[in-house]
Symmetry: C2
Subunit: 253 residues, 2 copies
């Protein structure tokens, strides 16, 4: 008997997860008029499942911060979640320009002697100074990411006089270097927000963050910009396309 109850619970939890994944996709695609989700009964019919399962699915989405649920009002989309292109190397304002205005609050900006790991990744001799920059980045006034940036000195020093509040570093770097950026290696991870990061991003302690480490090179191959970016998981997705046959196996011109 107890076993049956457990099996039922697991079945419902599994089913709720399936439903939540499909609703999440619709929310990200902005598929609900006025951000209003259908009533529980309608969703139960649509997904051919019980109202309890639908309620459990909506609870999962509420815990992710994607929807709000109010008695009498129903379920509404809580906040927009924005797609960051993974198909090419773009700054935040560039990739989100259709969604609103990116502004940056500079928390720290200083010339410093970096730890050995930073020197190595930027290809600098030990002891050579870099520009260190910490920015809180917002879209339409709401915090989106906390960025820690190490820049080689010749590229970074002119930024002390630049309008960092309203510009991507990428665009500024290309102006300073007189050449476009080339490639970047990036690593993506999911981490829980520590209390200080959570406070800066205005998110609950422990909230899931999308963490990006990115080393960017100029077109001539020189590494110039090492960044550690913590995106709020409830406000940003990464979107891209992969090929089964990698580029290097294709015939390039």
């Amino acid at each position: 008997m107890e076993r049956m109850v457990l099996d039922d619970r697991r079945r419902r939890a599994d089913r709720a997860r399936q439903v939540a994944d499909l609703l999440r996709r619709q929310i990200l695609q902005d598929s609900f008029p006025q951000g209003q989700l259908p009533l529980e009964a309608a969703l139960a019919r649509e997904f051919d499942t019980s109202r309890n399962t639908i309620r459990e699915a909506l609870d999962l989405l509420r815990e992710e911060g994607l929807v709000e649920r109010c008695p009498g009002v129903g379920t509404t989309v809580a906040a927009e979640k924005y797609p960051h292109g993974l198909h090419r190397l773009l700054g935040l304002a560039e990739t989100l320009h259709e969604h609103g205005q990116v502004t940056n609050q500079v928390r720290t900006m200083t010339l410093m002697e970096p730890p050995a790991q930073v020197s190595q990744r930027l290809g600098l001799p030990p002891g050579e100074q870099v520009v260190y920059l910490e920015r809180l980045r917002s879209l339409n006034g709401l915090p989106l990411s906390l960025d820690l940036t190490y820049l080689v000195r010749d590229a970074g020093e002119p930024l002390f006089d630049a309008d960092l509040a309203n510009n991507d570093i990428f665009a500024l770097l290309e102006g300073i270097a007189g050449q476009p950026l080339g490639t970047a290696e990036l690593t993506l991870e999911a981490v829980n927000a520590d209390p200080h990061t959570a406070a800066a991003l205005g998110t609950p302690r422990g909230a899931a963050l999308l963490m990006v480490e990115r080393l960017t090179h100029l077109a001539d191959g020189r590494p110039v910009d090492l960044e550690f970016i913590r995106f709020r998981g409830d406000r940003l997705t990464m979107r891209g396309q992969l090929r089964r046959t990698p580029d290097e196996e294709r015939a390039w011109p």
Copy 2:
């Protein structure tokens, strides 16, 4: 006075975050012999900061599940974290073959009439059945991801007789279809683990998960495989390279 204390705390938290990000990178690169991190005093010298800051940085990494700290033993790497290639479309066993053996526990496998969203994404008429599959995937016996998969019927049905425990679906699909896979669109997000997912993955409730939604097409362009994958954030990273000039602006042969 109180203000000064707050500023000091914030400064130390900011500094701890910087140190943690650099140590995280070293851990992922397996840079510490026998997984043993240097002593606090040595790290304090290396990063030119206080032992309190180092302690706070190591606490951040411990909360991420990356290191363990024991009195007398010091700080050790807790568990390996594996890189999943973002440079091409690969199955889990393919991408992690250097790191060990991927095994899959099939939790559910059934023929079902899918919700409208699934039919649409797979390009199926309403009511056409799909194969639904739920797998818990492990590397060297430790849970790595929970995968929910919807497959078009002609590609999915032969899988009822396949060795799903020891094979990637990608490899099996190519055999069934008699053609390679082509491209996949994917979306990456960070979400907190709900209690049931956490239990399945053997991770704390609320742990950060890297969530991937991926629609895979055969080489002829037909979508065949829609997956929702939850990776344990403490066990997997995604690694790739981006170009400033996108492929489509390059001259293709």
